[in-house]
Symmetry: C2
Subunit: 596 residues, 2 copies
């Protein structure tokens, strides 16, 4: 049974990221350590006590679709209502509209718990956060007044409508059309696919943010506008009134997250009560500037997808650990040699077998590294809001965002798959729940920009930030961690310092290599190494963060032994990645023809 | 749609393994190139034309359980009947009982096609092959006369009943009991779980091989006996007669292979028509020597599970390749720079994006490497049957078996997961079929000895064969491949020779390290590196085999560019594995406490 890892999350926030220092220096707004602890404890209580019991039943029954309606699993509407009434949806929203304006890093921390308890449940909120961000930044005052307090409280939920069958990763061919009807009102016509929580019965209204194209818009992504399209048009009192002309046509039959409805939405099919065809929408931001509006919420949207991967990975680790402690097989005790007689008659828990312990430790350090990257990215987003070095922190957040999206979601799949392996045959049986975590985790490397697209973003847009200084500043910070552990002389770290230095040296080499390629216009060659570089970067940063967190924990060597395990057993993988970045391009081009 | 990769299979059999030379030198029995080609072509026709159309419908409906009966998906009984009537089940069986006694390498080749078309369908046969092997090697003449021709033809299917709830990887705690009733007849009582094809309606009878313990048997694995327990007792004419006291209690709700019923079997529950309780069974081999009997079929059973992973991986690769050629997104053409204008208005197929091409090429070379390892292991098994150097070939087969089981099944999961990623959002939707391949593939690293157990076997039992000479002979052969490519001077190989030499150097280092540990009794430490070593070994051997196969293909550089891609982009991963083997143990022991 999932237990919110409060101590690990707290330590990571405070010491792997710098929330501890920020609170000390008065740079975290009203947040205090006591408040942090209270919130984490309350969130843990809710996740464990309220979400967990409905998680597996919800997965089993799934969201049901019938004639335009989506019925959520039994108990989920009440669950959602309790969750939002406890204020969880309002954590980061603007105070003016009923929010608490707490840092994103805190929101990421509790969001990990929702996703650890049930990824299908955790997803919903992140879309509403995106809608709040977009309306706050770009919406008219009228739109803010009508929608923001409902969305901040979670009384209504938000959605993002980007994808169409022919326009996924590349939105330039988007065809949904918007027609001007005066008074700032538009009519929207078209079909959107893969719309998470596009239709459901958790809330009385749903606020769709929809990308569409005006008749006179330029071709490509510079002709896309963003519209707010509510399911029900609010009446004079702001209550859901007439039905808008938008309907869920079907939901997808997916590998996982069965309780999260993934909808095909039809706009302008004539089903509404609006008098004429076309879904009524209001422009957010300026005409043809829709993509820019979406971009303002991209960082946090991507961060929250990373949090999904993280939450599932932690859940998979815990489940495998529980099983490995209980399940007994085999007598050759190996790791248990100090605990039991060799050849004793009792079978040992499988955790005592090196192969199983190695899998569990790999899972543990990958989760810890992913969490640290997420928290550092979230902290940078927060500081970009409040710090005088707004630009510096903003670049830091930009730099870390592709890592915070891709690494936790990649390791989410890896850790969930290892979790199945630890369970043996039991892992393949659905009732155990381990397989479900792999099914859930598998979407996260895909949506909100595939991890390959994150890598392209990292190499082509983030490395060049401030002419490479954003990256160099960051690498210098990681260097400092390596030097700190070298100076610490704590035996528990073993050769961690040497391993970090070596990995950092490799990372500098590939970074310079790719920056040079980008600078010289050899983008194609640079992108051949992008995915390997992204992984090399994240593994190195993650290992440094685990070390940083361990250095801050003088009371026990446990974290130090984990940092060392990562340095010895995982970090060497960066060497292969380094070589792929430096030398893989030529053989890719040569071998490409073999795919014809 | 799956297409049997006949040309790749043929080339791998003949040139990555040495079937070509063996045929030339008259060491492949009656097999000729013409016969090989005819069989591969016929198998491809059956797989594509007959199995493929029923594969997805079968997965969707799955095997159904009701009151002790399992109903297979619509059309599967007819499919199975056509398949066995075409002689496919009899390929390797003894001529005396209606088989064709063709080499296992040929059987592995066509079995890849069954699994590529439908893993759930492909599994069944391998259990029957196991039963034929066990009865042939250890059964009484009476048992052979009654059962072998039915099993060789596939008129009846076989099963393996090993696992019990408390006895999985470790069979020493097995509790199913057998009672002697005179006349060589035994009564069996107990429960078995995870019995693949334990009950179904494909055939009129099912022949269970069951491990059980006699009342006076020694404790542990030396007190286990093997029994033949038919579902229906054959009558005087050998037709299914009275119902035996064995029944399917339930089937598992699994992540994948939904058309393959995984059964809980109850023996001796009083459901039979045998007059008294207890399933009637006949001893195979000697009392208390059941595990040894099982071991005689272990190598080929493990090989065939490797073939399952391979078949699914090939199917996943093909599906992703088809999609990547068709799906258009994005305009920055990169790899397509010679094919289209940059910034041309048409979107390019996603295969032109480096990230996608890299995934596809990785899939392609991993599949090729896995296939070559499978074929080499199968060829060694064949030669161990027929060659004067029986012992040498037998050791070679023993050495390669853990690699042939673990590597194709590990990469089966990896390749299927990459296949989903190539599809983007479409990959997560079940109708596409990509997700199903991951669900299917995920069992193969678990059953027939988890891949962790394969690694233990490799290090603790296979490395010491002939005091290490079996391994050293093998490494010398791989060395020769590296020298051959160095001498070839073919430009298309790039730096392949250097990469192979380097990887082989690392493999020798870890091999000696582990052999020394095993020799000195430091088994615990050796096993800490076992899984990494197994992967290092397989990647190195696989890269050598791709090179060997490419060297034999002078007509085109395509295979050479693939070998080079593997050497440049995959093989560097062995360096991290080398380090994990050499240095990971200490940090494992230190970090183990962090799991408490």
């Amino acid at each position: 049974m999932y237990r919110a890892p409060v101590a690990d999350i707290r330590h990571s926030l405070l010491h792997a990221a710098d929330l501890g220092k920020a609170i000390e220096n008065g740079r975290a707004g009203d947040l205090t350590i006591d408040l942090l602890d209270a919130i984490l404890a309350e969130a843990a209580r809710f996740a464990e006590g309220e979400i967990v019991p409905l998680s597996y039943p919800g997965e089993t029954s799934g969201a049901l679709f019938e004639r335009g309606r989506v019925t959520m699993p039994d108990g989920w509407r009440d669950l959602y209502t309790r969750w939002r009434e406890n204020g969880w949806n309002a954590l980061t929203g603007p105070v003016k509209y009923g929010g608490q304006e707490l840092p994103t890093s805190l929101s990421a921390a509790v969001c990990e718990m929702w996703n650890g308890a049930s990824m299908a449940f955790g997803i919903g909120q992140t879309l509403t956060i995106g809608a709040v961000d977009a309306i706050s930044a770009h919406g008219s005052q009228a739109l803010k007044d009508i929608y923001l307090s409902k969305l901040v409280s979670g009384e209504w939920m938000g959605t993002m409508n980007l994808t169409e069958p022919q326009a996924g990763s590349d939105l330039s061919d988007l065809r949904t059309r918007a027609e001007r009807r005066g008074d700032g009102i538009y009519r929207i016509f078209g079909q959107k696919i893969y719309i998470t929580f596009g239709e459901h019965d958790l809330t009385d209204n749903i606020v769709h943010l929809v990308l569409a194209r005006l008749p006179d818009a330029p071709a490509g992504v510079k002709g896309i506008s963003l519209f707010l399209v509510p399911k029900f048009l609010p009446d004079e009192e702001g209550r859901p009134g007439r039905r808008n002309d938008v309907v869920c046509h079907a939901i997808e039959h997916k590998l996982g997250i069965h309780a999260s409805p993934t909808c095909t939405m039809i706009y302008g099919d004539g089903v509404g009560e609006t008098g004429e065809p076309g879904a009524i929408g209001w422009l957010i931001g300026e005409e043809n500037r829709g993509l820019a509006c979406m971009f303002t919420m991209m960082n946090s949207a991507r961060l929250y997808v990373g949090v999904q991967g993280l939450g599932v990975a932690e859940a998979a680790f815990q489940k495998a650990l529980d099983y490995a402690r209980e399940r007994r097989q085999g007598r050759s005790t190996l790791l248990a040699k100090d605990r039991a007689e060799p050849n004793a008659s009792a079978q040992v828990p499988i955790i005592e077998h090196p192969d199983v312990a190695l899998m569990l430790l790999r899972m543990k350090v990958l989760v810890g590294a992913a969490r640290a990257i997420v928290h550092n990215c979230a902290h940078a987003l927060d500081r970009a809001e409040t710090d005088e070095n707004e630009r510096w922190w903003s670049e830091r957040a930009n730099l870390l965002t592709p890592l915070a999206k891709s690494f936790p979601t990649d390791i989410g799949v890896e850790v969930a798959s290892l979790g199945i392996q630890v369970h043996g045959g039991m892992g393949y049986v659905e009732e155990t729940g381990a397989a479900r975590l792999l099914r859930d985790a598998r979407i996260a490397p895909i949506y909100e920009g595939t991890n390959g697209i994150q890598a392209i973003d990292l190499v082509s847009r983030k490395l060049p930030l401030s002419n490479g200084d954003a990256l160099r500043d960051y690498l210098a910070e990681l260097d400092a961690i390596a030097e700190q552990v070298a100076a610490s002389n704590r035996e528990a770290f073993g050769e961690t310092a040497a391993r970090l230095r070596e990995a950092l040296q490799g990372l500098k080499e590939t970074s310079e290599h790719l920056m040079n390629l980008v600078r010289s216009g050899a983008l194609s060659q640079a992108l051949s190494g992008a995915t390997s570089y992204q992984r090399q970067f994240a593994l190195t940063a993650g290992a440094c963060y685990l070390t940083k967190a361990a250095l801050a924990d003088a009371a026990s060597d446990t974290r130090a032994t984990l940092a060392r395990f990562m340095a010895d057993n995982v970090l060497p993988e960066t060497e292969a990645l380094r070589r792929q970045v430096l030398g893989g391009s030529e053989s890719l081009v040569a071998a490409r023809e073999a795919l014809n």
